[in-house]
């Protein structure tokens, strides 16, 4: 019998992504979809994608989906989850979305221990609107609205979301990963699996922050962008698990 090593996951529809060549959104979409397929929970999963390059996620994830206002996915997900507590609810959010306009929503979803899973794509910029600075833009990084590089005197410091949310008791699983090479892609998938398992066990809020590239707005080739990510983002945004509630690890897959 033939063994499939890599193939399209049923967690995604057949619609080709609209993302730019080499954009990590595609990689992470695939990982999330694979995890949902492998955990056999697609039929009870409802995804929420607010505004950002991934706003069209409802075209791609092969399950019930709600598109949400910019930044409000955690609130929308909360509404869904409270109505269907036995469903699996996830949000897929960018850094502008989650760490800027949606700050209150993400902090409070975590504080409430809202039993949802958040996939957080940190690419240090507002991809969809053409590359303005984000709360996660690194110091010195040039963007459309920090044309001379981010200056801490004017724009302040990048926010480390995973660390911040880890101070909240309601947060059951918080990790930061990156997708700059295959081993880290594997680790990202593991973290996503753990996050969904956290939800399946009813332990509370789970989030995976994925360091990602935006070759288009960084003005780089896709490969250069992965290199830049590794060399500049990882030092400021250390990878790892920041919060793992005891029960998550207990017989976690």
């Amino acid at each position: 019998m033939d063994k499939v090593i890599a193939s399209r996951t049923k967690g995604l529809t057949d619609v080709p992504f609209h993302y730019c060549p080499g954009c990590a959104h595609g990689i992470v979409h695939r990982l999330v979809a694979e995890v949902l397929e492998e955990l056999e929970i697609m039929e009870k999963t409802i995804g929420v994608a607010p505004v950002g390059c991934s706003v069209f996620a409802y075209n791609y994830f092969n399950m019930d989906m709600q598109q949400a206002p910019h930044g409000r996915a955690p609130a929308v997900a909360t509404g869904i989850k409270r109505v269907h507590p036995h469903s699996v609810v996830f949000t897929y959010q960018g850094d502008g979305d989650l760490a800027a306009i949606g700050t209150a929503e993400i902090v409070h979803a975590a504080a409430r221990g809202e039993n949802i899973t958040v996939i957080f794509i940190n690419n240090t910029t507002y991809g969809m609107t053409g590359g303005q600075s984000a709360p996660t833009t690194l110091l010195g990084q040039k963007t459309k609205t920090t044309p001379l590089g981010r200056d801490k005197e004017v724009n302040g410091y990048p926010i480390r979301v995973a660390e911040m949310l880890s101070t909240l008791e309601g947060a059951a699983y918080i990790a930061r990963t990156a997708v700059f090479d295959p081993p880290h892609v594997n680790k990202t998938k593991k973290a996503i699996t753990k996050a969904f398992n956290t939800q399946l066990k009813g332990l509370g809020f789970s989030m995976v922050e994925v360091l990602a590239n935006c070759p288009t707005n960084w003005n780089m080739t896709p490969l250069d962008s992965l290199e830049w990510l590794k060399e500049n983002m990882v030092p400021y945004y250390p990878l790892g698990e920041f919060k793992v509630s005891e029960e998550v690890d207990r017989n976690a897959s």
């Binding site: 609209h18 730019c20 060549p21 991809g127 969809m128 288009t216």
Partner: protein
């Protein structure tokens, strides 16, 4: 003189820039001008086009529905716009990619192999300039000198070397028009 121009192609083919250049040159020559972009949601790829009006009289509506000139850089663009051209209008099309003649009998059509010509000059990005060269040679809509002036202003000081490349491309387009299209 009143021209309504649509320039259309893939995102990344320098469509919007070509239109801005033309518009600026028109302004410098004392004409009334307007430029409107239009693009899809994709940051990369997808389609892009712009509408340019260059006219002796004030421009009421900057919206171009029946262009006097179409510059089509790929097949879909030709298909979309070729039948909207005003009678006695012009179609300039990228014959490197578009392998058929335009269908509109009332318009004069000019195929220019801009990709090949640009690659011949060493940089596929100046295909838009080749096309502009052909355009102004045939239609005289603005003078080559003004267009160069506008180009210089647009590129600014930092891109001096880009300037000569663009200049060459313009020239190549004009020459192609003189030799092959007239």
């Amino acid at each position: 003189m009143h021209h309504e121009i649509i320039i259309a192609g893939f995102g990344g083919q320098g469509i919007l820039f070509a239109g801005q250049l033309l518009t600026h040159a028109g302004m410098v020559e004392g004409k009334h001008v307007s430029w409107i972009p239009s693009y899809g949601p994709e940051m990369r790829g997808g389609t892009a086009n712009c509408s340019v009006v260059i006219s002796d009289r004030g421009i009421s509506s900057p919206i171009v529905t029946e262009p006097t000139i179409l510059m089509a850089f790929n097949g879909p663009s030709l298909e979309k716009f070729e039948n909207r051209i005003k009678p006695e209008g012009f179609i300039f099309y990228n014959s490197s990619i578009i392998k058929r003649d335009p269908q509109n009998p009332k318009a004069s059509s000019y195929g220019v192999p801009v990709n090949e010509m640009a690659e011949g000059l060493g940089n596929s990005k100046v295909a838009n300039m080749v096309m502009l060269g052909a355009l102004i040679e045939i239609t005289k809509i603005v003078s080559p000198e003004t267009l160069l002036l506008s180009l210089e202003k647009a590129l600014g000081r930092r891109k001096k070397n880009m300037l000569s490349l663009n200049e060459e491309a313009l020239k190549a387009g004009r020459e192609y028009a003189v030799q092959r299209l007239k």
